[in-house]
Each structure stands twice: as C-alpha cells, then as structure tokens.
C-alpha cells in the first residue's frame, strides 16, 4: 500500500505541473485568496496562484533535494563507516569519532543556522547542512557492523586464506551493511523531509517565488487565520508524503528482519 501511494505521489509531482493549465509563478490579482472550488482544487494563494499546482511543483523540489541529500549522506556514511570499522581504534577512527561527537553537540536546527550564517540561505546550502548531519547515523551503523563482523569466523577464515581485509569488507560485509542501511535510510528520508520543510518554513531555505512546501506554509501564515486553506494544502502534502515513507520503512523493516529491531539514532 505504501509503495503504491508513493508511486502515485511521485507520478503526480512529475507529470502534474506539465498537464495543468495553471502556471506556477504567474500572478493573477483577480483570483486572490479563493477558497477551494472546482476550478482550483485547493484554492489560490495571496497572489492568485493555484495552490495545487504549486504543491506539485514544490513536491519536485522537496523530494529531489531530500533524495539528493539522502544519497550523499548514505554514500559518505557507508564509506567513512567502513574506514572507521577497518581501522578500529587507529588514529583515523578516533578522529572521525571525535568529529561526530562535536557535530552531535549541535542541535540540528542550530547547526543549520550556523551554516546559513556562513554561506547564506538557499536550497543547495540546506542540502549541505543535511548531509553534514545525516551521514553520522549511517557511519555509526556501518562501523558497528564492520566491527562485529570482524570478530566472526568467516572473516578470520578469509583472512587466513590470504585475502586482503579490504576485499573481505567490500565482498562479504558490504551486502549486509546495505541491507540494514536501506531500512534505516527510509526513516532518515522521512526525517530529512521534515527537517527540510521546517528549515524552509523558518526562512532558511529557498526564497518565496519558487514553490516549496515549507516556504509555501510560511508564506500562507500571514493570512491563514482568515483563509486556512493556505496552510491546509502544503501541510497535508508534507504529512502524507512523510507518513507514506514512514509506512514504507516499517514495512521494509518487517520484511528484512521481522524479529530484530534495527537501532535508529534520532
């Protein structure tokens, strides 16, 4: 069920803006702040733009930047995690652990504010913020798996057969890592989308003219007491997307290991 919902959302965001007769950015003063009706399914915003079309367009931006951030974070996390696991208790491991500790000492939003202070607002910078924080859980899990697997008989046997440690890690341990990280990454994706929209809502993300769910919400704030549909649409969109991804994660977790709990670091 979760998968079909997700496919539906993706298809809508991909094809929706192309098929619609309304323009994303064109302002139309006559149709300002219309309530939901047949012509505008979710009504219009304060510039007379159709909210539904903007939602679909915004979905593209939100989803694509969240997925980009996730892929980068997973790659960095797995690679650094494997390095840390391979050189357990060596200098590089200790240094990276220390880096993690320091980064974890900042609450995510505070770190994001710091990064924005340094390099300015914008979607690319937000993705960077997210990558800086979200590689940590992946690296931790990977490191833990490598460290445990190194104790196993299989590893010792391969070592005795004269294989290089790195080869064993990539050939034998990496598949296990990917399986666990896959489940973890769905939950992290949900949390990334939440963080992204929260940051854009606070005004740290992309600037209003281009549609993004968080910034649409903060844009609608000025008038929402009179026109609640301004926040109902984008709010609902975030909730549905994140809920779907979370369901998918629960499903994947049950599928891959029905008995064991995957450790998640929030």
């Amino acid at each position: 069920m979760a998968i079909s919902l997700l496919i539906a959302i993706l298809a809508m965001t991909l094809f929706g803006p192309v098929l619609s007769k309304y323009d994303v950015a064109k302002q139309n003063a006559a149709d300002r702040l219309l309530l939901p009706s047949k012509t505008h399914i979710m009504g219009t915003d304060r510039f007379g733009r159709d909210i539904f079309v903007r939602l679909l367009q915004g979905g593209r931006i939100t989803i694509s930047s969240a997925v980009t951030a996730l892929i980068l974070a997973v790659c960095i996390g797995i690679i650094l995690g494997m390095i840390m696991g391979a050189y357990e208790n060596k200098i590089i491991d200790i240094v990276l652990l220390r880096v993690m500790d320091v980064l974890l000492a900042f609450p995510f939003i505070v770190l994001a504010m710091l990064v924005v202070t340094f390099i300015g607002t914008g979607m690319k910078n937000l993705v960077l913020c997210i990558v800086i924080v979200y590689w940590i859980p992946f690296a931790r899990v990977t490191r833990k798996i490598v460290c445990t697997e190194k104790q196993s008989v299989l590893y010792e046997a391969e070592l005795l057969l004269g294989k290089r440690p790195w080869k064993i890690i990539v050939q034998a341990i990496l598949p296990k890592i990917i399986q666990i990280v896959l489940v973890q990454s769905t939950f992290e994706l949900a949390s990334i989308i939440l963080s992204l929209s929260a940051l854009s809502f606070l005004g740290l993300g992309i600037k209003p003219p281009s549609p993004e769910w968080g910034s649409m919400l903060s844009d609608g704030r000025a008038h929402f007491l009179m026109y609640p549909h301004l926040i109902a649409g984008p709010g609902l969109a975030v909730v549905i997307l994140v809920f779907t991804i979370n369901l998918l994660g629960e499903g994947l977790r049950d599928y891959f290991d029905p008995y064991q709990k995957v450790e998640l670091i929030d």
Partner: protein, 311 residues
C-alpha cells in the same frame, strides 16, 4: 570506574573546545573584514572615510587582536566567552548577555512544560502499548505514533492556533509569553515529542518483560498490571537517560514552535539573529546550546557508568 569518569570528563571538555572553535571560526572566516562586519551599518559611522570610523576600526582591531595570529584571537575570544561576554548585539547595540537573559525565562517555561506533557503522554501510550502487546490497542497506538511522527511540529502548531484561536476562541493570538498562554505551545511541543518517547518506553518494557524474573512472577500468578509495573520500575534509569536526551532534541524543536507561536524565547531570538546577520548573538546562542547539550550528555554517560557498576 573513576578512570571511566575521568575519561568522559576529558572527552566532554574536548568536545566543548572543538565546538567553540567551530563557532568562533564560522564568524571569523566569513568573507569580508570582520571589523567592518562587526561595526556594520551603525548610523554615525556610516561614512567610511571619517576619522571616527578609522579610529573605531583601529580600536576594534586592537580589542579583537585581529593583527595577531588566529590562535591568539581565539584564546582572547574564548576568555571573554567563558565569562559570558559575547560582545554587543549588532542590531540593538546592547550586551548579548542581557538580551539572552531576558529571553531565557520564556524558553525555560516552555521547555519544562513541554517535556512534562511529552513525558506523561509518552509514558501512558508506551505502557499501554507494551501491556497490550500485539493486541488491537497496541496496533492502534502504534499507528497513531507513526502518524504523529509524520506531522511536522509547525503544521501541528499552525493547525492548533487555527482550531483553538479562530474556531473555539479559547486561545488569544498575540505576541508575548504569559503563563496563561503557555498551554497551547507546550501541548504542541509535547505532542510532537511524545511518540518517540512512547516507542522507546514500549521497546524497553518489552525487553524487560522477556527476562527471567517476569516468568517467575507470571508463575506466581501476579496480576498483569503489577508485572508491567515492576518491569517499568526496572527500566526507570534507562528512561531517565532518554528523558534527558530528549531535552537536547527539544532545543531544536523549540526554535520552530517559538517561531510559530511568536513566543519570545531564545529560539526565536536566535532565528532573528540569523536572519539579521547578528553574529555576536548567533555565537552566544550556539555556544550556550552546545554547552547545555554536552553537559546533558555528560550526565547521561555518568548515569550509565554508575548503572553498569551497580550491576
């Protein structure tokens, strides 16, 4: 044990020092002359060639030791930071320390109320969920938790403002932080955090329920609620650790909620400072949150060490 405690102490201190270096570095290496950034666009100093301007630049250069190596600059900054002197806000020209102190009570009020609600809700849901493990109630509660986790805090906040403020008119929508207005933001903060605590408590009680002494209690014919109560009592230390940990996540969440409710706390102040490029204020806020988090984590680690030694 003492060795472990000392180790943790040292590593916490190192973390604080490294984090403060980042905080210092971010502002120090912003492109542009730091002195000109600090002076900013203050009225009387706007003409850049005036004697007054040059005088001010030179005196600030002296004060921040900008002609010395970066390390010495950092040490000078850190020395002042330790005595909570983060300089003057670039926007209001007042001491950042005073501004933060003004905002602190609102934030403390909100987070304490929020965490109490969060914890009570999480406890009830988690205990019920564990007691009725795999029954209908458990499944419903778990679904509710997934739904709650999927809703961003600011959406809950905006919806609740609309519902309680516009439809029911029981919440007055205005700027300010009076105790009478506390209940709504605190409730939202609690609602957003509760599912995570509920899940955690459920998992821990279930783990505890799998242990041998529980089997013995079942064999003795104890009533169900008593068994769950005993299992809960034994997982209290872990739950306290988590409670402290959730304070750290609350700091981030509070930034958003304070913004939604126009609650004049530290989080809202920090956001304003970021949007105004008010560097001393940002430095001060980040330093204080980092310090709080490191201290909380340190306490948590101490609890863990004591627990592991007791067993």
């Amino acid at each position: 044990m003492i060795k472990k405690v000392v180790g943790k102490t040292i590593s916490s201190i190192i973390t604080i020092i490294l984090a403060s270096m980042i905080v210092f570095g971010v502002v120090r290496f912003i492109p542009g002359d730091p002195v000109k950034i600090i002076i900013g666009s203050v009225g009387e100093l706007s003409s850049k060639d005036s004697d007054l301007y040059n005088q001010k630049v030179n005196s600030l250069r002296e004060e921040y030791k900008l002609d010395e190596p970066v390390v010495i600059q950092y040490v000078a900054w850190a020395k002042r930071a330790v005595s909570l002197d983060f300089g003057k806000s670039m926007k209001t020209r007042r001491d950042v320390k005073d501004e933060l102190a003004e905002r602190l009570p609102a934030t403390v009020m909100l987070s304490v109320a929020g965490i109490i609600i969060e914890f009570v809700l999480g406890l009830i849901i988690g205990m019920l969920s564990a007691a009725y493990y795999d029954k209908l109630l458990d499944k419903i509660l778990r679904l509710i938790c997934v739904v709650l986790i999927s809703i961003p805090g600011f959406v809950v906040g905006l919806m609740s403002i609309y519902y309680f403020g516009v439809i029911n008119k029981v919440y007055s929508i205005s700027v300010g932080s009076t105790a009478g207005k506390l209940w709504l933001p605190a409730m939202v903060l609690g609602l957003v955090g509760a599912p995570k605590i509920a899940r955690y408590i459920r998992a821990n009680i279930l783990e505890e329920l799998g242990k041998g002494y529980i089997v013995a209690e079942i064999a003795r014919g104890y009533p169900k609620w008593k068994i769950v109560k005993n299992a809960f009592a034994n997982s209290i230390p872990i739950i306290i650790t988590y409670l402290l940990y959730s304070f750290t996540t609350l700091i981030g969440g509070a930034v958003v909620i304070e913004n939604v409710f126009s609650w004049p706390g530290l989080g809202a102040y920090a956001l304003e400072s970021v949007l105004n490029h008010d560097y001393p204020a940002i430095q001060a806020y980040v330093c204080i949150t980092v310090l709080m988090i490191v201290v909380i984590n340190y306490i948590n680690e101490l609890i863990e060490i004591f627990e592991s030694c007791r067993r």
